[in-house]
Structure formats: C-alpha cells, structure tokens
Amino acid sequence: MAPLSYYFILSAVLFTIGTIGVLIRKNPLIMFMSIELMLNAANLSFASFARARNLLSGQVIAFFVIAVAAAEVVVGLAIIVSIFRSRQSVDVDDVSMLKG
C-alpha cells in the first residue's frame, strides 16, 4: 500500500481543483461537479484515515457524506431547473438579486 501521505496529497489536489472550479466557473452544473469533487476529496481523507488507523467510523462518515451529497444534488438541480424556467439562462452571475 502506498504511503498515507500520497492519499492526502491527492485529496488536497482534488479539493483545490474543486474549490477553484466553484469560484471561477459560471455554469452551475460545472460548479456542482466541482462541489462533488471537494466532497469526495474529503471522503478520500476519511477513508484513508480509517484504513490507516483501523477504525470503522471514518468509513461510516464517508457513507454519510455520499448520502448528503446525493440529497444536495437533488435540491440543487431542482433550483437550477426552476431558475432556468424563470429566466431562460443558468448563468450564475445573472442571479444576483440578493445584492445588498
């Protein structure tokens, strides 16, 4: 098995890619995918720790995260669909009505 640090480096890279994706992309679907990437980076860390320490809880938490991510996608996609219906566009910069 590869050293533990490799997994963490991979996890950090994945997380950074996801973060940058959320921040710079305007397409909400891509942003969603980036968020999933960040979540899975976290899952990878959980799983690695669980494996290294021989604990079950980290793996269980990874499953929880996957479940929450699925629920989040459902809600998020529904929002995106309704935004698209009301303004015929899914550009997130068009949706800035909350500006103070």
Binding site: L23, I24, M31, V92, L98, G100
Partner: protein, 645 residues
C-alpha cells in the same frame, strides 16, 4: 348612621352617569342628574344628623369603618367616617349649599353648547372629594379628599381652557395647592412617626404623649396645607386668579366649601393645636394679617368676582384668627354663615354677569337696580350680612370672632383692633361693588342680539330663570337667619351642638368662650356702627360724589397702584420662584435635548453607517459568497492549527 355612605354614593353616581353615559343624554339632562344627586345626598345628610342627635351628648362621636383600606405591617389605615357634630355640620353645608349652587348652575350654564357634561361631572366629583375630606376618620383619607378637591378645583377653573388666563389660573392653583399638599404629607408622616397611627381616634387620644417641639412641627406642617387650601398669606395668590372659572364654581368651591377646608383641618385637629401654642399664635397673626390684607386689596379691584375673591380671603382670615385664639366654635360658626352669604354674593354677581352678557368689570356695570331686581336684593342682603349689620348672620359670627380676639387668653388688643378695623373696610369695599353695580347710570353694552326675543324683555338683558331665582331666595333667607343659632346671652343652640366635638378626648377640653356680657355687646355695637360707617362712606363716594372717589385715587396714586397690584406679591413670586424655575428648566431642557438626544441619535447613526459599509459585502454573486466561505474556513483552520499546539 351607616346611611352616611349614601351621601358619598349619590354624587359619585351622578359623576359616573354624566362621565360615562352622558354622551347619549340630552344637554339639559346633565345638570338635572347632578342636581338630583345633590338633593338626595342633602336629604340623607339630615337623616344622619337626626341619628347623631339621638345619641347622648358624650357619645356623639362615631368611628364608622367601612373596610380596612391600607393594611400593612406596623401601619394601618381604614376607610371610614368620623361622625361628630363638626363633620355632620360640614356635611350639611356642603350638600345643602352644593345643591342650591348646582340648581343655579343649570340656569347659568344653560346656554353653553359644549362642556355642560364635563362641568356637571366635575362638580359632582368635587362634592365627592369634599365629602371624603370632611368625613375621613384618619389623616391619610383626609389627604385623599384634600388632593381630590384640589384636582376638581383645577379641572373647573380651567373649564374655559381655551382661554389662556383660565388655563394659567388653573395651573397656578394646582401648583400652589400641591405645595400645601407636600407640607401636609410631611405633617402626616411625622404624625405616624410620632404616634404610630394616623387615625384621629388614636392620635387625638395620645396627643399629649409627644414633645411640644414635635407637636409644633406637626401642626406647622399641617398648617402649610391649610394655608394653601384656604388662600391665606403667603400662599394666597391662586385664589383671586381662580375666578377665571364659571361663577357657580367660584361660589361653591372658591367661597363656600373647598377653601374652608383649611379651617376645618385646624378645628378638626384641635387637640394637636391646643398643645402647640406657638403654632396657634402664628395662625392668629397670619389670619389677622390676611383679613386686613385681603380687605385692603379688595378696596380697589375692578372685577366684581375678584372683589369677592379678596373678601373670601379676608373672611377666611377671620376664621383662622378665631382658630388661632382658640375660639374654634367661632371659626366654625363664621364658616357656616360665610358659606351662606358668600355663596349668595357670588350667585347674585353671577346673575348680573349673566344678565349683561359675561361682563365682569365693575366699571362697565351700573344702573342695574331695577333691571335685575332679584340680584339687587340678594347682593344687598349678602352685603349687609358680610358687613356685620344686625340682625344679618354675619353680625353674630363676626362679632364672636372679634370678641374672642380681644378677650381670649391667646388674643390681644392688636388682634382685636385689626379684626374690628377690617370689619369696617369690608363693609366699605363690598358696598363699593354693590353701588358700582346697581346704582347710577348704566355703563354696559349688550352684545347679544337674539336675547331680546328669547326672553321677551325690551332691555336685552338675560333675566334669571326660576332655577336661578330659587337658590338666591333660599340663600338670602339663610344669610339673614343663619346667625340666629348663636346669640350671646340668649340662644346657645350652636355652641351646645358643637360642644361634644371639644369634649373629646376627655383628657383635656378646648377653652370654651361663652361670649356675652357688657363687653361683648359693646364690641358688637361698635363693629356694627363701623360697618354702617363703611357702607355710608361707600354710598357717599360711589353714589353721591363719584368724582371724589376718582380724585382720591389720583391723589394717592402710589397707594392705589400698590393695592391694585395686590402689593406686588404675584410679581414678587414671579421673580423669585417662577422665572428662575423656568430658566432652570430651559437650561436643563437644553442639556437633556443635546445630551440624551445625542446619545440616542448617535446610536442610530452608528448602526446606519455600519450597515452602509457592511452591505457592500452582499454582492449577490455566488462565487463571492463561496470565496468568503473558503476564506473563513481557511482562517478557522489556521486558528485551530496555530493554537492547538
């Protein structure tokens, strides 16, 4: 005996009906409701009197307790009535004179469109408060009535509140009376500290168990309240101004009843005053001074109601003088006759004022003798009574006081001479107003066009209706015969009646002055002659030689001006108290305005500015929020990492 509560209940019901349901009643109904309530209370008062007189002499003091009013640890005050000949006499005066004045007011206020309901409601409320004051069985309840009449007086003086003069007069009356109330409250506190109780029974029975100095302090503090309520120097300035109220109010509150509350208090608390000779001396001198002071000012006033107001002040001075020399029954006797003749004078003046359309200036009256004959007769009878001409009531009551001032162990020749001299001046100034009003040529102009057809009189004067005539007739009769209940050497009805008041507590008795003998009659005849001289002088100056009066006023212009300006006491108070207080208030209002407002506004400004800055963060772009969340998370993690070590 228990029926006495009905006396309170009837006017209270009248007040409640007029105040709560009055809006849906017709205009004429207000006065009738109030008057009927008074009549009922008056009738019950007679039953209470009969009950009281059926008791043996030494038992004529009853403490009727309705309920425990303020039960507290170590302190107790009940809501109850103290019934003895004194309180029942006052009960009869207030309900009786109150009733006729209410009746008079129906006619007097009839033309008023608005405010009748308010007027009669407050008039009833005043009677309730006055009866609480009179019937109270302890000092605390007395204070409730005391404050209540002060409020009713305030409300009724400012009946025409849209006139600045009336509103100012009401405030003045209230402020000065509150000053008196504070003095009285301190007195009551001291009573409680000293005797451990505030009810009359305990306090009077243990009156002698305190140091003379303490009793003197108590009596002086109570005196402050009495001085303010009864318009005595130096707290008199509100009384003349109070004439801005409607005339029935002046008659009832500022002549016959409320202002006599001070005298009532002194006589009610006689066991305390008897033990404080220094206070009694103060009262006697203040009373004598006020009597003379008021009479002198009354000489030159040009407003008929103000003349009567100063005469009220002066007559109350007589009562204080009587109480001060220990002649308590004489004070109450004069209170009784004064209630009759002064109410009569005011109502007669009211008829005149009503007749010529609201004019109160003596210089614009004249020649009304044949125009309003009933007012002429009534004012004449009232004038003769106050001037002390036999056999009118004032003769007996005033001479009783003058005699006491001369002969009582507490009196002396100076007090007696002041009282005697004031009697002459009183006769002069009252008849001055009488002659100026009813004699010589008319100097008034009638402004009311519609009245002629209304009343069917060619001269355009408002003639008084039956409801105004009956009170004048009743009070005229009383002003004549009211003094016959006490004729020295002949009738002792009044003294015998009041005797139980001064026989309780039995530990010591008030000195009884059985007036009579050659000295009394010499003084009485002298006083009557002096009164006659006063009337004659007024007749000479204001009917026969009016030019001479003006000439005299011109020759003694300095004195005239001083008297006319009421010895500048108002101006003095204005300079010493009113203006500095106002300036102080203004200065402080500036400080508070800037200080407190600055604080409050500053808080608002801060929040607004902060939010203007902070809202810039809310761009509405999702990525900005995401970036902020990221930044926050990084900072949080950094914090945890760097502090956890």
């Amino acid at each position: 005996m228990g029926l006495v509560w009905l006396c309170l209940l009837f006017p209270l019901a009248g007040f409640a009906i007029n105040a709560l349901l009055g809006r849906s009643l017709p205009r004429r109904a207000h006065g009738i409701i109030a008057t009927v309530a008074m009549l009922a209370a008056f009738a019950v008062a007679w039953i209470v009197l009969a009950d009281l007189l059926s008791l043996p002499h030494e038992e004529q003091h009853r403490n009727l307790i309705l309920y425990n009013w303020v039960p507290a640890d170590g302190f107790n005050a009940t809501f109850g009535a103290w019934l003895d000949p004194l309180s029942v006499l006052l009960l009869l005066i207030v309900t009786g004179v109150g009733f006729v004045i209410h009746l008079f007011a129906i006619g007097y206020m009839a033309e008023e469109e608005e405010g009748q309901r308010r007027f009669f409601a407050y008039l009833n409320l005043f009677v309730v408060a006055m009866l609480v004051l009179i019937l109270a069985n302890n000092f605390m309840l007395l204070l409730v009535g005391w404050g209540g009449v002060g409020f009713a007086s305030f409300a009724l003086i400012s009946h025409y509140f849209f006139r600045e003069e009336a509103a100012d007069a009401a405030v003045k009356a209230f402020v000065i009376n509150t000053l008196g109330d504070v003095g009285m409250m301190l007195g009551i506190f001291l009573i409680w500290v000293t005797y451990g109780a505030v009810d009359y029974e305990t306090v009077f029975r243990n009156a002698g168990n305190a140091q003379t100095g303490t009793i003197t302090a108590i009596t002086l503090l109570l005196l402050v309240g009495a001085l303010a309520k009864s318009g005595q120097v130096p707290l008199h300035t509100w009384l003349p101004d109070a004439m801005a109220g409607p005339t029935p109010v002046s008659a009832l509150i500022h002549a016959a009843t409320m202002v006599t509350a001070g005298v009532y208090l002194l006589v009610r608390a006689w066991p305390l005053y008897e033990l404080a000779p220094a206070t009694l001396t103060t009262i006697a001198w203040l009373g004598a001074f006020t009597a003379l002071f008021g009479a002198l000012i009354g000489l030159v006033q040009t407003n008929i109601k103000r003349v009567l107001a100063f005469s009220t002040m002066s007559q109350l001075g007589y009562m204080f003088l009587a109480a001060g020399v220990g002649a308590y029954s004489a004070a109450i006797f004069h209170l009784l006759t004064h209630a009759f003749f002064k109410a009569l004078l005011f109502l007669a003046a009211g008829v005149v004022i009503h007749a010529i359309g609201g004019e109160e200036d003596l210089r614009r009256m004249g020649g009304l003798r044949d125009k309003v004959r009933i007012a002429w007769v009534a004012y004449g009878i009232g004038g003769l009574a106050i001037a002390g001409i036999p056999p009118f009531s004032g003769f007996f009551s005033k001479d009783e006081i003058i005699y006491s001032a001369f002969t009582s162990t507490r009196g002396n020749v100076v007090l007696g001479l002041i009282a005697l001299l004031t009697g002459g001046i009183t006769a002069f100034y009252v008849f001055r107003s009488f002659f100026l009003t009813f004699y010589r040529t008319p100097r008034y102009g009638i402004g009311h066009g519609g009245t002629e057809a209304e009343h069917g009189h060619g001269d355009g004067l408002h003639q008084p209706g039956l409801e105004m005539r009956i009170p004048l007739i009743v009070l005229s009769v009383l002003a004549i015969v009211g003094g016959w209940v006490l004729i020295p050497d002949a009738v002792h009805l009044f003294e015998d009646y009041l005797e139980p008041v001064f026989a309780y507590p039995a530990a010591f008795n008030a000195p009884v002055h059985a007036a009579g003998g050659a000295t009394y009659w010499m003084i009485a005849i002298g006083a009557a002659l002096l009164g006659a001289v006063g009337i004659g002088a007024a007749y000479y100056l204001y009917v026969l030689r009016p030019a001479l009066a003006a000439d005299l006023a011109g020759r003694f212009a300095g004195i005239h001006r001083t008297l006319f300006n009421r010895f500048y006491v108002d101006q003095l108070y204005d300079t010493i108290f009113v203006r500095p207080t106002r300036a102080f208030g203004r200065a402080f209002s500036g400080v508070f305005e800037r200080g407190l407002n600055g604080l409050v506004n500053g808080a608002g400004y801060l929040v607004r500015e902060a939010s203007v800055t902070m809202r810039e963060v809310q761009t509405g772009y999702v990525r900005n929020y995401a970036l902020l969340i990221l930044g926050g998370t990084v900072l949080l993690i950094a914090y945890v990492l760097f502090t956890a070590v």
